[in-house]
């Protein structure tokens, strides 16, 4: 997107304005009525969206910040309490644990699924016959609902009759009470998150691979470079911008994990899998502490904003 493209009409308008009124008064007047009509049309077309986004996004964001400084339980008016919610939140062991869990979940799901995604993308980029089938298989968990997927995993993780324990048994490994055991619940949730998240990352990598200049590989082949060498010396460096993009959107996605927690563990056992989003949900809709929930979501937002700003800075330095 270039700047000239972004202001095609504005520059035309500027050109029209430069015609002095004394030399071409009639022409100018004609343009301005047409222009007026266009502007009105523009406003008409955008107004519904402006109202919608204003009402359902802009006002809520402002309200979240306001409510985070209040004690508010829906039934009485919000009471301004300064930073009490924040103080309480950071002294709350469960919320601190939810931050830890969220970070830990992100720390594992993002790199694992990224590593798998890049390998699959590279393998898929070689014009195999079954390419379309493979791509569909890896992408399918991304289009299906997380709730439905979590239901299936709930059954796979079932300690008594589940598929996972049956498979471990055939391998001679001990089965686990996956979602019930505080030690295994978070790893189990991480497994589902990593499994589901491969698809989108793979797609972005495939798109990026298509943009790599093939002559680089041809030159490397002439020099006698092996496939592995080519992967690390050409593919990996050329994929750097894509990797960065994937990394950021994956972190933002992972920080907002909710549906599978709700279905798989309800935050338990012993808060082993509670996440920041889950605490927001619990405060707001189970304890009806809207102010506290807002403060918690402000902290979540701060984390995500931090990630976004860091990413901006790094991309700018790369340019």
């Amino acid at each position: 997107m270039t700047t000239t493209e972004r202001h095609p009409i504005r520059s035309a308008e500027a050109a029209a304005k430069q015609v002095s009124p004394s030399t071409a008064p009639k022409k100018r007047k004609r343009i301005s009525t047409a222009e007026k009509k266009r502007r009105r049309a523009g406003w008409l077309m955008i107004t519904p969206s402006v109202i919608h986004v204003g009402l359902w996004t802009l006002i809520p964001v402002i309200a979240t910040f306001y409510l985070s400084f209040t004690d508010y339980g829906i039934f009485a008016a919000p009471k301004w309490i300064w930073f009490d919610n924040y103080v309480e939140m950071f002294n709350d062991a469960v919320f601190m644990q939810s931050i830890g869990n969220t970070v830990w979940y992100t720390f594992w799901t993002v790199p694992v699924s990224m590593a798998v995604a890049v390998v699959v993308a590279v393998l898929l980029n070689q014009g195999l016959k079954l390419q379309k089938f493979y791509r569909t298989a890896f992408f399918l968990p991304q289009v299906t609902a997380t709730v439905a997927i979590a239901m299936v995993w709930l059954w796979i993780f079932n300690p008594q009759y589940g598929l996972l324990n049956a498979m471990l048994e055939t391998l001679g490994l001990p089965g686990q009470a996956w979602l019930v055991d505080p030690q295994w619940a978070l790893p189990a949730v991480i497994l589902v998150g990593a499994w589901q998240g491969i698809g989108i990352k793979m797609l972005i990598y495939i798109a990026a691979l298509q943009n790599i200049d093939e002559s680089l590989y041809e030159a490397a082949s002439l020099d006698g470079a092996s496939s592995i060498r080519k992967f690390f010396s050409i593919t990996v460096p050329m994929l750097k911008p894509a990797t960065f993009f994937v990394f950021i959107i994956s972190i933002i996605g992972a920080f907002q994990v909710f549906d599978q927690i709700y279905v798989l563990t309800d935050g338990g056992p012993a808060n082993a899998t509670t996440m920041m989003t889950y605490e927001v949900y619990r405060s707001a809709f189970q304890e009806f502490r809207m102010g506290m929930a807002s403060a918690q979501s402000v902290v979540l937002f701060a984390f995500l904003l931090f990630v976004t700003l860091i990413s901006r800075r790094v991309t700018k330095e790369e340019d």
């Binding site: 972004r6 070689q126 379309k132 399918l140 590989y217 989003t277 937002f301």
Partner: protein, 311 residues
């Protein structure tokens, strides 16, 4: 200039053929075989949960209580599906989800394309500011707005027994309004539409304007037909997101009549988590529409997911 020539002009500028790149042309047989084996194993890992879901939905309760589990059902219980529909009104949930997802798609395509067009092709005062605001709204995570959104719904004035100040009743809670209006449009859809309209050449509007067409006709008869693939992409993404949405319908509805399929599944599981064959049958029913839609419209989904990226 007649419309067909305008179209031809636009298309000729639009189409670029990207050749598929491969990082080796002469894959040796053994290497290709190895890659295929790895990818088949990977695909199996991705598909087994889906297969397991369908197989479980066709087993008898007695068979499900066996350990180690059987792979194929000993007896194919297709009657499980009828029994599932008796156990919970999944048909109704399905219809609700369908109505909501379709409405969201329609609203997004109509309003989103208009807004995208205005942002891309019409200059008016304040346009840049509105665009920047939309971009900022793109970056707002769901959880930063969910509490006030819920409050807005609850205190919606003059609905559900509320007075003009929004007090006294339940507002939009447990109504179709709450399910349809707040999620009807997203800043990301507007942004995507803007990008698509921006990619079209300017000659078209100039030609159309000389022909005396008004802005709405230029929008609806000239530019929008040219971005049909984009409409398919945004529409499918919206439908998918709406069909898969869970938290919002969970929060704003309580009655069974308004339950969507994802919430229906979650409630069904909490009510009776021992009847796995029914739960898996319900899950299969919730999953099949998206899988079918994806398989038939893969191209558009993939375009959307790679373009949108930022979700």
């Amino acid at each position: 200039m007649t419309l067909p020539t305008i179209k031809a002009l636009a298309i000729s500028e639009q189409v670029t053929v990207v050749p598929r790149k491969r990082w080796f042309h002469h894959a040796k047989g053994r290497q290709a075989a190895l890659i295929n084996v790895a990818l088949i194993l990977g695909s199996i890992t991705m598909l087994v949960p889906f297969l397991w879901m369908v197989l479980t939905s066709l087993k008898s309760p007695a068979e499900l209580a066996q350990f180690p589990p059987t792979f194929l059902p000993q007896e194919w219980m297709f009657s499980n599906y009828a029994a599932t529909l008796d156990a919970a009104p999944f048909g109704l949930y399905f219809r609700n989800s369908f109505v909501i997802a379709t409405t969201h798609t329609l609203i997004t395509v109509v309003l989103g394309s208009m807004a995208g067009y205005a942002l891309a092709r019409i200059y008016f005062k304040g346009r840049e500011a509105i665009f920047l605001a939309f971009i900022a709204m793109l970056m707002i995570p769901t959880y930063t707005k969910i509490v006030p959104q819920f409050l807005l719904v609850k205190f919606m004035p003059l609905f559900g027994g509320n007075d003009i100040l929004g007090q006294g009743g339940s507002g939009w809670l447990d109504t179709w309004w709450a399910l349809i209006i707040p999620g009807g449009l997203s800043a990301s859809a507007i942004f995507l539409f803007r990008q698509f309209y921006l990619s079209l050449p300017k000659d078209l509007e100039e030609a159309a304007r000389i022909d005396g067409l008004g802005e709405f006709r230029i929008f609806s008869q000239i530019y929008t037909p040219l971005i049909k693939p984009a409409i398919a992409t945004v529409g499918l993404l919206t439908f998918q997101e709406s069909w898969n949405n869970f938290l919002w319908p969970l929060l704003v509805t309580t009655s069974s009549d308004l339950r969507v399929i994802q919430v229906g599944l979650a409630v069904f599981q909490q009510l009776d988590n021992t009847q796995w064959q029914y739960l898996m049958a319900g899950t299969t029913m919730a999953t099949v529409p998206m899988v079918v839609l994806f398989i038939f419209a893969q191209k558009y989904f993939i375009q959307g997911f790679t373009n949108a990226g930022i979700k």
